[in-house]
Symmetry: D2
Subunit: 313 residues, 4 copies
């Protein structure tokens, strides 16, 4: 598969990149950086360092996109450490970002190969919103759009009603969900349900002691430590990597449903909320049309094995 | 039990009143009328006619409350016919409404018997919001508050995000849910899941041919006909009556959970939405405290038998 | 004139009460306390102490109203000191608050003398909103409603778009402005333009050394000191007292216009904003009807003399 | 001066283009089309036909931009007739739109000549918001940005609180006003105060009977007729043309002030409202910084002569 990943590279974002680069049959054609988890330039360095760690230096161009949300004030995510890499202190990559803007790169690449490229959006949706507003035809030219964001009628991670990616740029999310893309949504609710590695799984990865399992161990150190302090046992969540795994091998999706997904941009308690309705809302609200497939559960074990394989071969 | 029902009396509201009046051990001490389903004065007549039909004329005082929502523009509900009674054309009741305002009656009655009275709020919450803002102590003096309204992470009946009672007066609902009442919430989601009588059940009620089953047949005629046209078979939903049944006999509740319930008053798509979160939102949001128990399912058969008994004895 | 004042008694609120009590021809029939400037019970004490200072102990009943806004979170005003009285440390008044709730008192008194009573609302409008929602007929039964609040197409004092009284309870303000009262609005813009006493005026009041000019000197000490530090000269603003003066003697109003006044309750930057439009918005927006007269300027000198007289006789 | 005009070309927009093309010393380097007054493609044809009418076919490239607002639903303006040209039925221009997107053209042209180009934004601000979000450096590279939109503490033309250009895409307007451009704002309030031609002025233009005065007569026919029916005399307003005139010759500005301008994107009554505050909001709100100069009045006669000259030479 031909793949582009839009990412606010920090922590789990990097494992998603690794999974895409190390899985046979997947060509990661470009990485675009969007505002999100940590300092924008740090995110670009994290992406470049991850490409270098995967032995792909110079093979995967990295494009810089929107440094801030459309309207909202940017605020950093928690749990990633200052560098978003648990202080892994990776060497500065030789590869440098491209000159072309991420929005232009997205439009050019998608329009150049209509129906061929899939995209994983694992950051706030600013870049994609700008691209599709500037060139609405990418919505149909993109083969499939895998989005990590929102909640599925459950609790968020920034406010009780909202998940980070959609909360940081709700206007962008609202634009993307009505633009006509063929979307599969991987929510924070799915992250909690199907993406968590427990202590035994983490130990099994660590035991490999390959360069990439070392990379994984270092970069996941902060969330693992926080979990250990909070719950008495190390765990690690993988919102972006599970999304990538589903894109690479949809057979690990064990339950999904078609839905109408809308994003609240205002509201006193619901800003950034993803309202997920049944696909058929019936005669009463004909304006709400099915616009996404929502993943409800995935095979945690198959996901684990896919990532383990990527980190060890 | 000592009971007050706040109601926008139309259709199913009347069956809830009948259930309360005809079930042994329940004393319906007062009925208060709130803006909602149909024309305000028609609602008062509907309540009075229902009391007369139950043979309780003069025994249950009816108080008139807020004729419109706090801030929102009132709009009538659908599916009830012009009179809210499927054109049942009941005789005008001899009993007339009380002079005292519903808000004053609520405060006076609840404060006069702290810890003894339970209340069913089966209409928009304007009256209750006014009462508790005027006299905050009723929140603790009321033994229990049973509210019909909202959705439980599912689709609404006015907008995809909102149910009628909360949509009509979201500000009132927001006030009531943070006032400190001991609340059990019966949602539209529960209504669809546990309150529906199918054609066989409806036929069984009709077959009794008592005055009150005749009342039921007439008043439910419109929704039954609509369902027949739409789905090919008559069904009837009972949001308010099921709420009343749960209040009278909590053992028919088969699943419930404690929760944090908040009401959105703004929002482009979520006005009137009931955000229902887990009871423990953890260290991140200490300001969101458990404030309601949400009924997830009820025993439809037990509910049916309770109402059947009320209509036939 | 027969007058009721609704007040969040602190600082300038007290001078308004004094002006009403000490001006011949004015009967201050009741004072109602609303949430606002400082701690609610402190406000009640401030009102009672002011009545005592005016030599009217036992003659002007004080009713306690809503301790918090309808929906908003209460926050104290600035510039009043902890007690709202510049630490004047007045003796505790002998008179105590009435048992009846302010909302009930407003309804009872206004309905008992239709067309006879005028009211000054110099606090957030919670009490009045509750009263008129509970008894809509007071809107026409009140002879005239003088409201201090909002801005007149100029800058606010809590946010650039909003003044304190309307910002603290925007929902209440919205309710009052559409309830049908005969309203004259005295804005923060007017306060800045016409109510300010300069150092010379303040010195002239101080020079009298009567008990009430001493009261004035003590209670206005904090804002005077702040102004001196900030601008190098003492000044004092009188939003509430000027409103009271206009009510007592409308001839001090030098310019006013009829208008459509609406209150924004949502908005990212405009919550609590008073949108003031021309009285005739024309064919395009027939739903916006003239609902208030807005005072544009008042005779500062006449106002000063009116207050000086009240404090010295 | 080197000039780019972003326009939703209909009615008065065309006179602004003519003024720029026919005034000596002005080089209209590009026209960009934005969603707004009428059908998007019609607007492009109107711009091309205007260029042809000015005898500049092939000299002023026309770039197509955003066909719809960022988030809002587009709705057409009133008073322009179906074609936005009062049915003038101009011949289809030979010149065709450029292939490059307006957003790309804006970025490329502005970044290629930093400090040299001025821009008139006389449409909703979607194009400019997309451009500056994609390339934030254009804010400082553009010499000056003249914006027609908003109201200056007065009544709007779509809602009482909002003017068309800002109402149609409030999110875009909010983005542009915080992007760091050097902005002069020409409001609807200024339009009503300084841009109106009365019947005598209109007659004087008509009397010239040049091709461009004929163009003016035809294209302004609908608003003139409407005014005649409504007020008994023909008048014509020139929001965009006056803005262009001020840009070309700032000496016709007779009053202006520095200000903090913010755009409301939410709100129940204020969506699209331009809150215009004093330039110095003081210590209380340090986050609100002066970001625009607001024109308060212009010399109507000088403006008339400037346009008359452009249409007759
Ligand atoms: Ca991410
Ligand atoms: Ca009901
Ligand atoms: Ca006050
Ligand atoms: Ca225009």
């Amino acid at each position: 598969m031909r793949l582009i990943i839009d990412t606010d590279t920090a922590g789990d974002d990097t494992f998603s990149l690794l999974l895409a680069m190390k899985t046979p049959g997947v060509t990661l054609e470009a990485v675009t950086i969007c505002n999100g988890n940590v300092d924008f330039d740090q995110q670009a360095e994290n992406a470049l360092a991850t490409i270098e760690a995967a032995g792909k230096s110079g093979e995967v161009p990295v494009y810089l996109g929107a440094r801030r949300p459309l309207l909202a004030d940017w605020e950093p995510a928690q749990m990633h450490g200052a560098d978003g890499m648990s202080g892994a202190d990776l060497p500065r990559a030789r590869q440098r970002p491209e000159k072309m803007h991420a929005v232009d790169a997205l439009i050019e690449r998608i329009m150049a190969a209509p129906g061929e490229i899939e995209m994983i959006a694992q950051a706030p949706l600013t870049n994609l919103a700008l691209a599709v507003t500037r060139e609405p035809r990418i919505a149909k030219a993109l083969k499939h759009l895998w989005i990590m964001g929102g909640t599925d009628n459950s609790v968020g991670n920034v406010t009780p009603c909202a998940e980070f990616n959609f909360y940081i740029d709700p206007e962008a999310a609202a634009i993307v969900f009505r633009a006509g893309f063929d979307i599969t949504l991987s929510t924070w609710t799915l992250t909690l349900g199907s993406s968590v590695f427990d202590a035994a799984q983490l130990a099994r990865i660590d035991a490999h002691e390959t360069p990439l399992t070392e990379f994984y161990r270092k970069v996941s150190a902060t969330p693992r430590k926080v979990a250990e302090q909070r719950y008495g046992k190390a765990i690690c969540t993988h919102p972006d990597t599970l999304t990538c795994a589903c894109a690479i091998d949809p057979s690990i999706i064990t339950a999904a449903r078609d839905a109408v997904v809308r994003i609240e941009t205002a509201g006193t308690i619901t800003r950034g909320h993803s309202a997920i309705h049944p696909a058929r809302l019936g005669a009463r609200w004909p304006e709400y049309r099915e616009n996404a497939r929502v993943i409800e559960s995935a095979d945690n074990d198959a996901f684990f094995r896919m990532l383990e394989r990527a980190l060890t071969t």
